[in-house]
Symmetry: C2
Subunit: 134 residues, 2 copies
DNA sequence: TCAAGGTTTAGACAAAGTCCAGGAACAGGC
DNA sequence: GCCTGTTCCTGGACTTTGTCTAAACCTTGA
């Protein structure tokens, strides 16, 4: 799998030892626009024909989050999703099918932050729910 | 439990037949400022010395949501929380202990909604994460 | 009194995620 | 090359959150 070379570099740059399992997971999640769940990643990474367990998927996704390769987002009921877009941005979630769509940071601006002086803010995002127009 | 009278009226006004279980659950959740989980509600409602099962708590909370008495919010990993504040508002979640705090709608304003023309928006809120200052 | 709805229950089940002990793989030093 | 210690991966047990189902338990009204 020659195209994996790219992921070897990315992992090394983030201080992560590349292994076949981690590369398969990286390939499944890092360029995804679909905000996959851990189970989605498990299914896709297994297609890259590597021996892979569920526990490793969870361990690795958490490692990627810790090392700044991914963000975990709490947007769906019952399950976390992983987002390779680590720039700040907002989210839209479709009520019908749960599809999550990134909204660029610049599209929306939040005024009134100065009223939140009692908090040390780590992140802030607008969460929009509804339906995509057909 | 005379103070339950108040809840009898609230349930009736929302087209819900009052029962001892529903009243215990109403008392546990409707005036809470703590964004309880289903399990929190189960624990508290049982203190009102009613026979009560987990299934009834889930059924009843979902019924309350459907009838507009509560909102379900997806803010914590792994579990839904229930919010008796049905006015629109924003949320702050403390990274340390998971405490959820309501932010009044008027404190923040979101500009740029016109860029979301591709969506039929049902609700929109700002989600802020970080730490409370000591 | 009886039937029909509506309500509650225990327990089975499913899904998401964590934890653990054992084994495999691998890097560095000789 | 060959140890040795560390890192990594695995299956399976376990926990938590939530749903489902069949049976039982009210009410209510005829």
């Amino acid at each position: 799998m020659a195209f994996m070379k790219e992921y070897v570099d990315i992992l090394r740059q983030h201080g992560i030892q590349p292994t076949p399992q981690r590369l398969a997971i990286a390939a499944a999640v890092l360029h995804s626009a679909e905000h996959p769940t851990a189970d989605d990643v498990y299914e896709e990474a297994r297609e890259y024909s590597t021996v892979l367990s569920r526990a490793t998927v969870y361990n690795t996704l958490n490692l990627f989050v810790e090392k700044g390769l991914l963000r975990m987002q709490i947007l769906k009921e019952g399950t976390a999703v992983f987002d390779p877009n680590i720039e700040r941005h907002h989210h839209f979630i479709d009520d019908d099918d749960g599809t999550i769509i990134d909204i660029p940071w610049g599209w929306l601006s939040v005024r009134g932050r100065e009223r939140l002086a009692e908090f040390d803010i780590r992140e802030m995002q607008v969460v929009v729910r509804g339906r995509r127009k057909k």
